[in-house]
Amino acid sequence: MNLKEWIFTTDHKRVGVLYLIGSIAAFAVAGIMALLMRAELSTIGPTITANPTQYNVWLYTHGAVMILGFQIPALTGFFANFCIPLMIGAKDVAFPRVNALSVWLFYVGVILALLTFFIPDPPDVMWTGYPPYSTITTGNTAMYSFTVLILGFASIIGGVNFLTTVAYMRAPGLTLNKLNIFVWCTLAAFVLQLIFVPVLGTAVSLISMDKYLGTNFFDPTKGGDVLTYQNLFWFYSHPAVYVIFLPFIGVVYEIIAAHAKNMVFNYKMVVYGGVGGIVLLAGEVWVHHLYVSGMADWLRIGQMVTTLMISIPVGLMMIGLIGTLYKGSIAFTTPMLYALGVVFLFLIGGLTGIPLAVPSLTIGVSDTYYVVGHFHYVMAVAGTFAIFGGVYHWFPKMTGRMYNEFWGKLGFWITFVGVNIVFWIMMDVGVKGMPRRYYDYAHFPQFEGAHQWMTVGAAILAVGFTIAILNWILGAINGKPSGDNPWGSPSLEWSTVSPPPHGNWPSPPSVAEDWHPYGFKKG
């Protein structure tokens, strides 16, 4: 293997693998931050650090890196790069060099985020960066702004690239209604990125201008307004949840269809009702992050209705998933376990989100551990399980080798148990009043036992994730040869050799009239 070849690669599969390596590294770092926080919170008062700023830096890094350095790049970087050209029968993406630029920009962004640990005044502004704190802190808010801008830019040029690729480079005969669900989901996510990332870029640029250049966009004493930032921030960051949700549910569709060997239930409902509905609603619900921020009452009530209506497209997508399981032929492989895990975690996460759509109920639990538990179930853990399941699913295609099934399943079960210990208890103490972002909970001594259970759960889930990552590394080095199509899937990416050569196909593919990515046949 030639290092220079990898650095200067424009092959979409290698770019994808580079995204995967970077995002898993980011995941490991941000995961260690979570473990440090859990260790700190295991007792009342200082436990492993006596410095609250240290804790806040872990908290900032955990949130910002998990979202911007792990989930979004793994889903819209790795999976999109690796799978989309293969799924549509293309030789590569439309702009391979731009693609290489986007992955290296992503690395610059991740390195900026990790420099947090080496600069004298690390950013401590949480991943939200709300002013006035972010403009008066001694922490380095510019690091935060530039990390967001660079990762956002990488994501935008990726979006342009993939929309063009799917529009112009599909194999002959591959009509829009024969695209994989994952392709639809990812395209929708890129549309959201293209619309909303510029808003986030504006918001984080303005706080740095306020802090370093003396402007007053968010300073009320000089005519600015504090709430404007929160609106701009969530105007992007709620759609960002769907930028994560859509590709991860797309991955889950691919896994469930392939391992149940079953047609996706009501394909057009999933694509036009589910994916389309989410794109339509994504931009009209951001105020549910501002239910206790002092927004106008009518806006809070109005977005309560739109937020509740998100249940319609999401519900249609869940019906599609469960309908795909119905009358299937389910093999309980490791990727399938992760996918089924997502179904159950997302069910818990989605339902616990219903009270949070209602401003009057949110008044009681906003900014508590209930919210933290909810969004970990619905997005953080469900998304991570989908990413892990997806890596297992396409592992044979990436490497031409098989991972170890026993360790894969063991890793899944350990993680699944750990996740439920941590986040179920977290929601429970949240309802009882435990606020989030606390370095110390001296005035809530009654929660110490629960905090200790959460710390135990975090340690358990760390063991599970570590087993999975080691399983991939060992499988890539000396796994058994997998063959080209171990899951027996008709989806196009499985029709080429594993791993696919540069250019993907020995001869350009075309699809027959009666072909469908989910048309599973006997034998």
């Binding site: 009320p220 504090v226 709430l227 149940a260 047609m263 206790v292 209602v358 110390d440």
Partner: protein, 269 residues
């Protein structure tokens, strides 16, 4: 088999719609009716919260059981090497979109209607309220009573009188969160926000900051002390005398530290 499932879906949709139709007039009527007693938002919150949690628990368990049963039924075994679903007819494909939309929409609107009623309870401040100004800062809650008495991190209120806090901040964002009263609202520089609560009986309630405000965010706490009305009156009398003494023109030393009397008073309670 599928016909039966379809039938079940229709039945559930009808039940949901009926619930909605029954609720809307009740909710509309509720808005007009003058409340005889001071509402208790915390009690209403518990009521709606428990109802919603019960609903989502039932939905969740049903969904989980159905899914688990599908998974078990569809496990791969001899004779079941490939999935057996067939393409839907156009009519059932559309039905599987339209009917769920009505089911979900009816649940959504039912929840929204209930949530709106409770929202009005939380936002419509009763006429017999006591107004207290709150300035939040890194890291304290500074209260000012209508008569000018000031306290820090401790708000003493009479039982049975609704209290509204008119809030602002002198530095970063803060959020005045009283878990026992199920209420919080952010305070920020440049704007006045408000929240109100109804302390029904004497007791102590913790106040904690629920919006990240700085390094010591986790330590920003205070107390709300609810006293019986006569005890409250006695306490307020003492505070007024102290305030008058502090504001008296002659003895200059006390006037230089206006917050001190409030602080020492707080310690005594």
């Amino acid at each position: 088999m599928k016909g039966k499932r379809m039938h079940e879906t229709i039945r559930r949709a009808a039940a949901g719609l009926t619930a909605l139709i029954l609720t809307v007039p009740a909710w509309a009527a509720g808005g007009d009716k003058a409340a005889p007693a001071t509402p208790d938002p915390a009690r209403d919150w518990d009521h709606l919260w428990n109802e919603v949690i019960l609903d989502i628990t039932i939905i969740g368990i049903l969904f989980a059981i159905v899914t688990a049963w599908f998974i078990w039924q569809a496990r791969r075994r001899p004779g079941n090497e490939v999935g057996a679903s067939v393409p839907l007819s156009p009519a059932s494909a559309v039905g599987w979109v339209v009917i769920p939309i009505f089911v979900f929409l009816s649940i959504d609107l039912y929840t929204a209607a209930n949530g709106w009623v409770l929202w009005n309870t939380f936002r419509d401040v009763p006429a017999n309220r006591m107004e207290v100004k709150l300035e939040a800062g890194m890291y304290s809650w500074d209260y000012t009573y209508p008569n000018g008495v000031r306290t820090q991190n401790e708000l003493v209120v009479p039982a049975g009188t609704p209290v509204v806090l008119r809030m602002t901040s002198r530095d970063t964002l803060h959020s005045h969160y009283i878990p026992d009263f199920r209420v919080k609202e952010d305070s920020m520089p440049g704007r006045i926000t408000y929240l109100w609560f109804n302390p029904t009986k004497p007791g102590e309630h913790i106040v904690t900051c629920a919006e990240y405000c700085g390094v010591m965010h986790g330590y920003m706490a205070g107390r709300i002390i609810v006293k019986a009305p006569d005890e409250y009156a006695a306490w307020m009398k003492g505070e007024e005398i102290r305030l008058a003494a502090a504001n008296a023109p002659e003895p200059a030393p006390a006037a230089t530290k206006p917050t001190k009397p409030a602080k020492s008073a707080a310690k005594k309670t």
